[in-house]
């Protein structure tokens, strides 16, 4: 890197900090800090969600995995986007109608405050683990681009930058600057892709030079095979319906229609962008083979191919995206703690000033956890493996208990939910310790949660019918929506709405058929699965045009 690159990085970071400081004065109450005053319009919402999602994890982790194992890691992002569209159409309208600030708040509304406190507590650590992965990715980039290899030095510098940034402006800073960072990152991807592919003879060059297994979109074998795609699709559903770090921006949406549009748009726009993050990893495996750390694929490619100036701009984009992801998640941690634990511990409503103060203290503490976890990432096999391990164990049972049972089965009780969640997490952990494939230990955690919640629920007293009535009523249009004339029906009432939902369903079935065909190494597996995904998105997009 040259002084020009360092200057560009410095200028962009100063601009981002300036923006954070500017929004400091917009923080008047906890709602401003936590959900940006619930005033975020759809395109900014989609951009901020995209920025929280497309980050260094993708440019480093996906590219690193593509470098080592091939293109099929792209399904990690694609299935996540499919899940985001599903969540926008069916689940987020319910949350938005509840006017909650955290996902555990929903768990209290549906189950019990003990379940809310348990998940609130566990999720502070869960999000800190995710931030640790992002921080690790940023360190890998900085180590390779600057030539300064000290791991702990970079951890401290990058973590402190992100913590200070979040402390300044809360969710307004997250929302506003995320939009800007998303655009810089997208620009970075748009620049890297043609340069990297041009160096290897584009897609035909990749197909010719790489082993066929690395270019199989739905491979039969390997750690990122068809089973992985199914498992990550399930986990994507969990992520898109219960991840506080992702959904906090969505909970700040202006109204129900905005949240639906925001999520569907975000899902669709991020799908082509996934290729921008994976393809450079494939190109790097030809240009710079034999890297000791595959996660260094994109940074090594940038050093090899990018001219002075452009390197600085792209590095700034990558660092900015790391800050946006960490700041969104730090803010989510703090919101979880203040809303789900602090209030329960002290049994009284804190003043708005106290809430904002506690929120800021927790941001600093969660930041410390993030730093601690980032040191564990290299021992867990790098960015993608570390993250998959955590979500396979902790996230899957929450999806089963919170969404599958929570929204579809009235008989599920809070005792069943808590014991089922813990059983799922323990089963997942045992599977992981015994060395099972990621898809298998995710299946263990899901199955244990499914069975145990079912049995314990039947053995415990029924949930208060009034509580259930409130949740089930959220499926229908609220008074607020009727007044605003922006009604959204989860189950459409118009013919167009129903037709679009049928298209959506056909796409989903095609996608699943395609992936299962991958188990038999059938040639048509990849075309059917990808066409299914496109049809699914088309159905989701059309659905927005009707009631």
């Amino acid at each position: 890197m040259t002084p020009i690159d360092y200057t560009i990085v410095g200028v962009i970071l100063v601009m981002i900090f300036g923006a954070g400081a500017f929004f400091y004065k917009w923080i008047g109450n906890p709602e401003d800090m936590q959900v940006a005053g619930r005033a975020v319009p759809p395109f900014i919402l989609a951009a901020t969600m995209a920025a929280t999602n497309i980050c260094l994890y993708n440019f480093v982790g996906y590219a690193g995995t593509a470098y080592k194992y091939g293109i099929s890691i792209i399904w990690h992002e694609w299935t996540g986007m499919m899940a985001l569209v599903f969540s926008g159409l069916f689940v987020l309208p319910i949350y938005r109608r509840l006017r909650i600030s955290t996902i555990p708040e929903y768990l209290e509304e549906r189950y019990h405050k003990s379940f809310r406190a348990l998940i609130g507590f566990l999720w502070v650590f869960r999000l800190a683990a995710w931030m640790g992965v992002i921080l690790y990715a940023a360190v890998v980039v900085m180590q390779h681009l600057t030539g300064v290899p000290t791991y702990s030095l970079w951890i401290i510098i990058l973590a402190i930058l992100a913590i200070i940034y979040t402390l300044m402006g809360g969710q307004w800073a997250v929302v506003m600057t995320n939009t800007f960072q998303f655009l810089i990152l997208l620009l970075a991807g748009l620049i890297i892709l043609p340069i990297a592919l041009n160096a290897v003879g584009w897609l035909p060059g990749l197909i010719e030079k790489l082993p066929s297994i690395n270019m199989a979109l739905v491979p039969q074998k390997g750690p990122f095979n068809w089973l992985f795609i199914i498992a990550i699709w399930f986990l994507g559903m969990q992520w898109a319906t219960t991840d506080q770090g992702l959904l906090q921006s969505a909970l700040g949406a202006r109204d129900v229609k905005s949240v639906v549009k925001g999520l569907v748009y975000a899902g669709i726009i991020m799908t082509p962008i996934a290729y921008l993050t994976v393809a450079p990893g494939l190109a790097a495996s030809i240009i710079n083979p034999g890297l000791a750390n595959p996660d260094a694929a994109t940074p090594s490619l940038m050093l090899t191919l990018l001219p002075t100036g452009l390197l600085g701009l792209i590095l700034a984009g990558l660092l900015a995206s790391q800050m946006s992801t960490i700041s969104a998640n730090l803010n989510a941690c703090a919101t979880l703690f203040t809303n789900d634990i602090y209030r329960n511990l002290f049994k009284r409503e804190p003043t708005p000033g106290t809430t904002v103060r506690v929120q800021r203290i927790i941001i600093a503490i969660a930041g410390a956890f993030m730093i601690a976890f980032s040191f564990a990432v290299p021992h867990l096999g790098g960015a993608v493996s570390a993250y998959l391990t955590v979500i396979g164990i902790m996230d899957m049972p929450l999806f089963i208990v919170g969404i599958v049972y929570g929204l579809l089965w009235k008989r599920a009780t809070w005792q069943g939910a808590i014991i089922g969640y813990l059983a799922g997490a323990v089963a997942g952990y045992i599977g992981f310790r015994l060395g099972y494939h990621f898809g298998m230990f995710t299946l263990f955690s899901a199955s244990a949660a499914l069975v145990v919640t079912f049995i314990v629920s039947l053995l415990t007293p029924r949930t208060d019918p009034e509580k259930l009535k409130k949740i089930w009523a959220l499926r229908t249009v609220s008074e607020e929506e009727k007044k605003a004339k922006g009604a959204y029906h989860i189950i459409p009432i118009s013919t167009g709405g129903r037709l679009s939902l049928i298209i959506f369903g056909i796409g989903l079935i095609m996608f699943l058929v395609g992936i299962f065909m991958g188990a038999g190494a059938l040639k048509l597996a990849a075309p059917i699965a990808t066409t299914g995904m496109i049809v699914y998105f088309l159905g989701g997009f059309l659905r927005l045009q009707f009631d």
Binding site: P42, F43, I44, M176, F182, L186, L203, P204, Y275
Partner: protein
Amino acid sequence: MKFDWISWGTWSLAALVFIIWIIQTTREFRDIFREKGKQSK
């Protein structure tokens, strides 16, 4: 060499997203700043 439709097609879609997002978010930012301006008066 054959033209790489998949890569350029994906790249064009992403570029289109980039342009649309700049236009739309600029509009939405303008509205938010106007609203905040009104509130502070």
